[in-house]
C-alpha cells in the first residue's frame, strides 16, 4: 500500500465525517470491504487483507541424500556445527516473501528442518512465529531470524541466514528493513492461486532493495495447481524471469533441496567490508525483562564484539554490549560477528525506542560517518480509545501500555477521558491489525478487560492563523470559526481483479469517494484498477454503525435512540425499542436448575456489559463495531 501520508486532500467542512463522533473508519475499512468483495468476486487488492490462520499439517522430515560423508548423519546432527565460521563468500542472507497463506511459514519450517537447524523433536509448527498470537492466527507479526548450515551437493558448507518478514501491510516498514538486511529473497507464490496483491507489494519492496529474487511455486501437490499459468503470470505482472522457477511443496517436502541449492548459487554473497567502521542494521528488537532490549541486526560493515561500546545513530544512545550471538533460531552466544553475518545483541537497553528498527548500530569509539539509509520514525496512522471495562483497572492499563511500549516503538498513547467510558487512553497504531494485536495482548497477557472505540484517522485542520492542527479525536477539533479547511489522509489503492468484477469494484470505490487513477490489463483476464481513496470513509459507516449497534445492543427496559452525528448534525439514526417481554417459560421442579443457569448466564453477560449512561452495551457490540468493516457494503 502506498500510503500517501503526506498527501492530504482538503474536504469541505460540512462533509466532515463521523470520525468526529468517534465513529469512523481507517484504511483497513477499505481493505476489508474489498476483502468482502474478494470473497464473493475473487478479486484481490493491494492492501493487506485480513490474515487468516490456515491449518497446516506438521511437516515430515524428508529423506535427505547427500554425496558428502556427512550425508550418513541424520538430519538432526547436521545443524550442529552451524555456529562454526565460514568465509563471507559462503554466507547467504535471504528472506521469504509471499502473499498470506501462500505457505511462507511452512517453507521456513521445512528449511530449518532440512538443514537440521531444528530437530523433529523441537519442531513446533511455524517455528519462526513464536508469539502465541502469531501461532494462533497463523500470521507473522514480528519477524525473526534463523541461521542455518547447509552443505551443498559439492560438499561446501554454507551459512544461510533466513530473515523472516512480517506479513501484514501494517508492518511494511519493518518488512522493508528486514529485506534491506538481505541480498536475496525467495518469492513464494501459490501455484493454484497465482500472483496476489501482497505478492506484488513485497516484490516491489524487494526490488527497491536490489535483492536477487528466486521464484518458487509452492503447493504444486494441490489438485488445482497450474504451474504454467502462474509462471507466465509472474513473468507478465512482476516481470521476473520464471524459466527456472522452482516447483515445490513445502508441506510435502518437494523441491526443498533445489531451493537450498539455488539460494547458494543465485543469491550473491555479502560484500566483505569487515575492516570498515561498524555499521549494523537493526531489523527487529524486543524487550526482555531480564536483559533489556534484544536487538536483531545484520552487520553491514565492520565487526562487533562483546563489551564493545556501541552507538545507535538515530536515537543517539550509547550502550555496552553485554551479550552477542546468533539466532538459530534460538539464541546462541558467540564472541564476534562480522560483516555479512546476522545476529542479536543485548546491552541492558531500557526501551525499544532506543534501538528502533531501521536504526544503525556503530562503534562508539570508531564511528561510521553516515548511518545506513532508510530509517523512519514510526507514525501512527490509526487511532482509537482504549478504556477499561472496570474503572478500577485504569492504572493496570496504564502500566500495561507502558510495558508494551517498551517492546513496540510504534505504539503511542495519551490519557483520555470520556463521559460515557470514563478514564482511558487514546492510542495510535500503525494500522488496524496492529491495533487489534495490541488490544489482544493487553487482554491476554495483562488480563485486562477493555472496550475499544471505533478506530479513526488523523485529520489535519488548517486554521485562520495559519496554524495546522492534527487531530485524531473529535474533541480536539478547533472551533468552527477558526477553521479554514480540514484535510484527511488518502491512500493509493491498487486492486487486482478478474475482468468480470471491474465494474462492481469501480462502483464500490466510487461510493467510497474514490478518485479513479488508472486501469491496466495485466493478462487477458486480469486487470489492476487504481484509485485514490480517503483513508477514512464516512457516511456509509455512520449508517452501518447505527444499524450494527441496533442489531447488537439487546433491547432494554426503555427505548434507546442510536444516532451518528457530526457535531450537532445527525447523519444516521436508529432506535432500539423497549424490551417488551422475556421468555417466560414455566418453572417447575425439573426446570429450576436450567432456569437458574440461564439467569446466571444472563447476569454474567450483564457484568460484562458496559453501562453507557443507563444503556448496557455488551462488549460484543464494541468489538463488532470494530470489525464492522467486514460487513459494510
Amino acid at each position: 500500500m502506498d500510503l500517501l501520508s503526506r498527501h492530504y486532500q482538503a474536504v469541505p467542512q460540512n462533509d466532515l465525517h463521523p470520525a468526529f463522533l468517534g465513529l469512523s473508519v481507517s484504511h483497513s475499512q477499505l481493505s476489508l470491504s474489498h476483502a468482502r468483495a474478494e470473497r464473493g468476486q475473487r478479486c484481490r487488492i493491494l492492501l493487506g487483507t485480513r490474515c487468516q490462520s490456515s491449518a497446516i499439517e506438521a511437516p515430515e522430515l524428508p529423506d535427505i541424500k547427500l554425496p558428502h560423508p556427512s550425508s550418513l548423519l541424520h538430519a538432526i546432527d547436521m545443524g550442529k556445527d552451524r555456529l562454526s565460521k565460514v568465509p563471507v563468500s559462503q554466507i547467504r542472507n535471504f528472506s521469504i516473501i509471499a502473499h498470506i497463506d501462500h505457505g511462507k511459514s511452512t517453507l521456513a519450517d521445512k528449511l530449518l528442518q532440512t538443514t537440521g537447524t531444528v530437530s523433529d523433536r523441537e519442531m513446533k509448527q511455524q517455528f519462526l512465529d513464536n508469539m502465541d498470537l502469531e501461532r494462533e492466527r497463523g500470521i507473522t507479526i514480528k519477524l525473526q531470524a534463523a541461521r542455518m548450515r547447509y552443505v551443498t551437493k559439492d560438499g561446501v558448507p554454507y551459512c544461510l541466514n533466513l530473515i523472516d518478514t512480517p506479513g501484514h501491510v501494517d508492518f511494511s516498514y519493518e518488512v522493508s528493513r528486514s529485506l534491506a538486511a538481505c541480498e536475496g529473497a525467495l518469492l513464494v507464490v501459490d501455484a493454484s492461486q497465482g500472483v496476489e496483491a501482497q505478492t506484488l507489494a513485497n516484490v516491489y519492496l524487494a526490488l527497491e532493495n536490489n535483492l536477487e529474487i528466486i521464484p518458487v511455486l509452492n503447493k504444486i501437490d494441490l489438485p488445482g495447481a497450474d504451474a504454467e499459468r502462474v509462471r507466465s503470470e509472474i513473468e507478465e505482472i512482476v516481470g521476473l524471469d520464471c524459466s527456472d522457477a522452482i516447483l515445490c511443496s513445502a508441506k510435502e517436502g518437494i523441491g526443498i533441496r533445489e531451493i537450498l541449492e539455488s539460494i547458494v548459487t543465485k543469491i550473491p554473497a555479502p560484500k566483505d567490508t569487515s575492516t570498515n567502521p561498524l555499521r549494523a542494521l537493526i531489523f527487529d528488537s524486543y524487550y526482555d525483562a531480564y536483559r533489556g532490549v534484544i536487538v536483531y541486526f545484520r552487520v553491514v560493515d565492520g565487526s562487533i564484539k562483546k563489551h564493545d561500546k556501541i552507538l545507535f545513530m538515530a536515537s543517539d544512545k550509547e550502550y555496552e554490549v553485554d551479550e552477542i550471538g546468533v539466532l538459530s533460531p534460538s539464541q546462541m552466544q558467540v564472541d564476534e560477528l562480522v560483516a555479512g553475518e546476522v545476529g542479536y545483541l543485548a546491552a541492558s537497553i531500557r526501551s525499544v525506542a532506543d534501538a528502533r528498527v531501521g536504526d544503525t548500530i556503530t562503534n562508539a569509539a570508531k564511528k561510521a560517518e553516515t548511518a545506513l539509509p532508510g530509517y523512519q520514525e514510526a507514525t501512527p496512522m490509526v487511532f482509537c480509545g482504549l478504556f477499561p471495562v472496570d474503572a478500577d483497572q485504569f492504572t493496570e492499563l496504564r502500566d500495561a501500555l507502558e510495558k508494551l511500549q517498551l517492546n513496540d516503538a510504534a505504539l503511542k498513547y495519551e490519557p483520555e477521558s470520556s463521559t460515557a467510558m470514563g478514564f482511558g487512553f487514546r492510542c495510535g497504531f500503525l494500522g488496524l491489525l496492529h491495533m487489534e494485536i495490541v488490544q489482544e495482548r493487553l487482554e491476554r497477557e495483562y488480563s485486562l478487560n477493555l472496550i475499544t472505540t471505533a478506530p479513526s484517522v488523523v485529520y489535519r485542520v488548517l486554521c485562520v492563523d495559519d496554524l495546522v492542527v492534527e487531530c485524531s479525536n473529535p474533541s480536539e477539533l478547533p472551533d468552527p470559526a477558526n477553521r479554514v479547511a480540514i484535510e484527511e489522509p488518502f491512500v493509493n489503492i491498487e486492486m487486482i481483479t478478474p475482468k468480470a468484477y471491474i465494474g462492481p469494484l469501480m462502483e464500490l470505490a466510487q461510493e467510497r469517494r474514490g478518485e479513479f487513477k488508472e486501469m491496466q490489463y495485466i493478462t487477458e483476464n486480469r486487470a489492476t484498477v487504481t484509485y485514490i481513496l480517503p483513508l477514512a470513509e464516512a457516511f456509509s459507516v455512520g449508517r452501518a454503525l447505527t444499524q450494527k449497534l441496533k442489531e447488537l445492543i439487546p433491547r432494554q427496559m426503555f427505548k434507546i435512540p442510536i444516532q451518528a452525528a457530526i457535531g450537532s448534525r445527525i447523519i444516521a439514526s436508529e432506535a432500539i425499542s423497549a424490551m417488551r417481554k422475556d421468555v417466560l417459560a414455566k418453572c417447575y421442579g425439573g426446570d429450576i436448575s436450567r432456569k437458574k443457569k440461564l439467569l446466571k448466564k444472563q447476569a454474567e453477560g450483564k457484568k460484562r456489559m458496559k453501562s453507557v449512561g443507563r444503556v448496557e452495551v455488551p462488549q460484543d457490540a464494541f468489538m463488532a463495531v470494530l470489525r464492522l468493516e467486514k460487513e459494510v457494503v
Binding site: V583, A585, C587, G589, I592, L598
Partner: protein, 537 residues
C-alpha cells in the same frame, strides 16, 4: 391467617396396637372427607360419592394392614380452618402459606413428583423426557401394555428403594403425576403407585394428588377410576381452543375431545381442575387469543396455567420457527397476549399467583408452590428431578439409563444414600440457595419474603437485594408490600436502605414482588440484574 389445629399423635414402637389403630383411623377419615369435599360440588352428591368409595374401593387408601411401620411414625393430622378447597369465606393471603413457608432444609420432603412419560406422539414444541407409544389399536395394545408395565415396575422399584431406606418419611402433602401424558396409563398402575406411597409414607389428611390429563385419552369410566385411586386434582392439557392450532402443535387431540373431557370433569363434579393454555402459537392473533381466554373463563376451571410458547432446540418448532419471527407472534404481540391473559383472568376472579399460573381463591396448585418456595420434594421416574437435603438430582432422560439408575437405587437400598441423608457437603452453597430463593420467589405474587431472607441469609444479603431491586421498584416493575401484602411507597424502603436500618426494614416491609403484568413480563431481566448485583452472585 389460617387457624390450624394440629392433632399430633405420637406413638413409639412399643405403643399399643390400639393407639396405632387410632392413628390410622384418624388419618383415613380425614383424608376421605377431604377427598369427598374436593370431589363434590353439591352437598347432595356428597354421600353418593362417599358411598361409591366405600362400595367400590373399600378402604383402599389407608386400610393397608401391611403397614407395620405406621405406628412408628409421627402422624400429623391437620384439621384446617382454612382449607385449600375454597370452602372458607376468609381469603388466605395471596400465594401464601405462612405455616410451611420455611421448611428446614434437612427435613424430608412431603411432596412427590412422579413422571409418567407415555404420549401418543411427541408434540412439535415438546422437549420433555417422553416415550411416544402411538395410537392404541388391536395390534399395538399388547406392546403398549407391556411397555407401560415394565416402566411402572421400574418406577415402583425406584419409589420403594428410595423411600424404604428412610428412617421416617413424612406423610405426603402433595403428589403430582406429570408427563408425558399420565392419563394414558390404565388406572390400576396409578393405584399401585399411590398405594406404595401410602404404605411407606402415608398421606397428609388433605393431601393434594394431581394428575395431568390430555383430552382424548380418557373417558368417564377411566376418570372415575382415577378419582377412586385418590386423585383429587386434574390438570387438563387443552392448550388451544382451535383445531388448526392443535394440529399445528402436533397435539393428538381435537377441539371436540376438549369439550368431551371438560364435560366428564364437570359431570363427575371435580372442582379442583386446571386448564392449560399455550400462548404465542404460530399464526396466533390477539383476537384468537382473547377468544381462547373467554372460552376458558366460560368453562370455569378452578385454575388456569398460561404457558408462553418457548421454542426449544431439537424440537420440530425449533427447526421451523424463530422466536418473534413470522409465523410466531412478535415480541410486542406476545407481550400483549400476556397482558390480556392477566387482565381477563383477574377480571373473572382468578388470582395471578405465579408468573404463568392463575387460580380461584384457594385453588392454587400446592404442589407447584413447593417448587416456588424452594422446598424439598421427591422426584421419581424418567428424567424427574428431586430436591432433597438441599441437593437437586435429575434422573436419566433415557429409559435404559433410567433402568440402570433404578438398579443402582435397589443395590444401595441398604446403604445410606448420599442423596437422601443429611449431608452438609452435598448441599448447594449459600449463594446458590439464595439465588434459587430469589428466582423462585419472584415468580410468585407474594414475592420475596424479606424477613425470611434476613433471617436465613443475614441482613447484609437482604439489604443487597433491596438495593439491587431499587431501580425496578422506582420504574414500577417491582412493588414493595407490607405485611398485609398491601403495596407501599418505595420511599420507606429507600430510607431503610440508606440508613442501613435492619429494624426499619423489618418493621414495615415484608415483601418485594414483581408488578403484574409489567414486572412479570421482564422477570428474567430483573432477576438476572439482581443476580449480577449480588457479590459473587
Amino acid at each position: 391467617m389460617k387457624t390450624a389445629i394440629s392433632v399430633v399423635a405420637m406413638a413409639s414402637a412399643s405403643a399399643s396396637s390400639k393407639c396405632a389403630a387410632f392413628c390410622k383411623q384418624t388419618r383415613r377419615s380425614h383424608f376421605n372427607s377431604t377427598l369427598r369435599a374436593q370431589l363434590c360440588t353439591q352437598r347432595s352428591s356428597f354421600s353418593d360419592v362417599n358411598r361409591q368409595h366405600n362400595q367400590h374401593r373399600p378402604g383402599l387408601l389407608f386400610a393397608s394392614s401391611r403397614d407395620s411401620k405406621l405406628h412408628e411414625r409421627i402422624v400429623y393430622v391437620h384439621s384446617s380452618a382454612h382449607s385449600e378447597l375454597g370452602l372458607e369465606d376468609k381469603k388466605p393471603p395471596l400465594g401464601l402459606f405462612r405455616d410451611d413457608a420455611h421448611v428446614r432444609r434437612n427435613e424430608l420432603p412431603s411432596s412427590g413428583y412422579v413422571h409418567l412419560p407415555f404420549c401418543k406422539r411427541r408434540c412439535f414444541y415438546c422437549d420433555f423426557a417422553i416415550v411416544a407409544v402411538g395410537e392404541r389399536n388391536t395390534t399395538s395394545a399388547a406392546h403398549i401394555d407391556s411397555t407401560m408395565d415394565s416402566y411402572v415396575n421400574s418406577l415402583c422399584a425406584e419409589v420403594v428403594a428410595t423411600l424404604e431406606k428412610l428412617p421416617q418419611p413424612s406423610p405426603l402433602k402433595t403428589l403430582f403425576f406429570g408427563g408425558g401424558t399420565p392419563s394414558l396409563l390404565p388406572a390400576h398402575h396409578l393405584s399401585r403407585i399411590i398405594e406404595i406411597f401410602d404404605r411407606i409414607c402415608g398421606f397428609h389428611s388433605n393431601a393434594e394428588v394431581s394428575i395431568e390429563m390430555d383430552p382424548g385419552t380418557f373417558d368417564r369410566v377411566k376418570m372415575k377410576e382415577f378419582l377412586n385411586c385418590g386423585v383429587n386434582r386434574i390438570s387438563l392439557g387443552v392448550q388451544a381452543f382451535n383445531d388448526d392450532f392443535l394440529k399445528a402443535c402436533g397435539r393428538s387431540h381435537g377441539l371436540q375431545d376438549v369439550y368431551e373431557a371438560i364435560d366428564i370433569i364437570h359431570d363427575l363434579g371435580v372442582r379442583n381442575w386446571s386448564l392449560d393454555l399455550i400462548s404465542s402459537l404460530p399464526h396466533q392473533t390477539v383476537e384468537l387469543w382473547e377468544e381462547s381466554l373467554r372460552k376458558t373463563i366460560e368453562l370455569a376451571p378452578a385454575h388456569v396455567s398460561v404457558y408462553d410458547l418457548q421454542i426449544e432446540e431439537g424440537t420440530k418448532f425449533g427447526t421451523w420457527y424463530k422466536p418473534g419471527q413470522h409465523p410466531l407472534p412478535n415480541e410486542d404481540n406476545s407481550a400483549a397476549f400476556y397482558r390480556l391473559a392477566s387482565s381477563l383472568l383477574k377480571e373473572a376472579g382468578y388470582e395471578h399467583y405465579e408468573i404463568s399460573n392463575y387460580a380461584k381463591p384457594g385453588f392454587q396448585c400446592r404442589h407447584n408452590l413447593v417448587y416456588w418456595k424452594n422446598q424439598s420434594y421427591y422426584g421419581f421416574g424418567l428424567g424427574a428431578t428431586s430436591y432433597v437435603n438441599g441437593k437437586r438430582l435429575s434422573r436419566p432422560r433415557k429409559w435404559k439409563e433410567y433402568a440402570d439408575f433404578v438398579d443402582l437405587c435397589i443395590q444401595q437400598k441398604q446403604q445410606k444414600s448420599a442423596e437422601l441423608c443429611a449431608n452438609e457437603d452435598a448441599m448447594e452453597n449459600v449463594v446458590d440457595t439464595l439465588c434459587d430463593t430469589i428466582m423462585l420467589s419472584l415468580r410468585l405474587a407474594c414475592g420475596l419474603d424479606l424477613h425470611y431472607i434476613s433471617r436465613t441469609f443475614g441482613y447484609d444479603w437482604c439489604s443487597c437485594i433491596c438495593k439491587g431491586l431499587m431501580p425496578f421498584i422506582k420504574s414500577g416493575h417491582a412493588v414493595v408490600l407490607d405485611s398485609n401484602l398491601k403495596s407501599m411507597s418505595s420511599d420507606v424502603l429507600s430510607e431503610a436502605i440508606s440508613r442501613g436500618s435492619a429494624s426499619l426494614l423489618e418493621k414495615d416491609i415484608m415483601f418485594i414482588r414483581l408488578a403484574d403484568p409489567e414486572g412479570f413480563l421482564l422477570s428474567n431481566e430483573i432477576i438476572s440484574s439482581l443476580f449480577s448485583a449480588l457479590p459473587s452472585g
